[in-house]
Symmetry: C2
């Protein structure tokens, strides 16, 4: 059902590097006709392998220049779903993961400036299930890229 072959990988690779490529362009790259490509893309979307297409925006340009990673420690034992539900309403939370080790979760925050970041951290700390947080402010973004599609262990 959700089998992804070599051609699919190459199609995905094309779309990751440019989500607005035409089906004909992709087809030329992978050796298929435009309709065949479209059918595969539709199938990849149906099966959830492709989750959608998005624009890559310069965070600075939109006033999201300040970010931080926050270790979140919860009170007692909290289910991942509950953590998620509590973080989802906070607009500054761009990513969150449960993790091994001392902390329960790592939260990636984006804010417009240090003051906004402080406000976001206060709101984060005021979440009921959260006991305490350890923040690490990002000084500079060195690298940010999609996983290489052709990589294996």
């Amino acid at each position: 059902m959700l089998r992804v072959d070599t051609i699919d990988h190459r199609i995905i690779s094309c779309l990751v590097s440019n989500a607005r490529s035409s089906y004909a362009e992709i087809g030329a790259a992978v050796g298929l006709s435009a309709p065949a490509v479209k059918r595969r893309v539709d199938r990849l979307l149906d099966t959830g392998v492709l989750q959608g297409f998005t624009a890559v925006v310069d965070p600075e340009a939109l006033g999201w220049g300040t970010e931080a990673f926050v270790e979140v420690h919860c009170r007692g034992n909290v289910a991942p779903g509950e953590i998620k539900a509590n973080l989802e309403p906070l607009p500054e939370v761009v990513a969150a993961y449960t993790v091994s080790g001392a902390a329960d979760a790592i939260v990636h925050l984006r804010a417009s400036d240090i003051h906004h970041l402080e406000t976001a951290l206060e709101r984060l700390r005021s979440v009921e299930i959260i006991d305490r947080t350890v923040s690490t402010v990002v000084l500079s973004r060195l690298l940010e890229r999609p996983p290489a599609p052709d990589q294996q262990a």
Copy 2:
């Protein structure tokens, strides 16, 4: 030069939620004709506000199920550019940031499984400028989303 008005924000918002929308669709959403939208999108690409368009892929489906955040401590003082240059060749590095606090950088790794992650960590630790690393393995992805485009401090 890099002025971004309300309509630009709404266009960006459309493209973030679906990078393959037609200009006509976006135009209908923001109250502009298709060519007018295209001109703005071209300008946003030129000025670097929009950096491109990409596909959102389910990492599991491509065998990228395992990830970790790694605090990197360098030997002595190292320039951000040098750290970047050293991390760029490692395919498992999907993001990296210099940070405040004890660590010099935070590196986001993606691997196909624990064994691959171990290999990637070994390669990371073998980088000349890196003194030691502290790894935090991700147990589950709770949330991952683009920053809300209409947010301000």
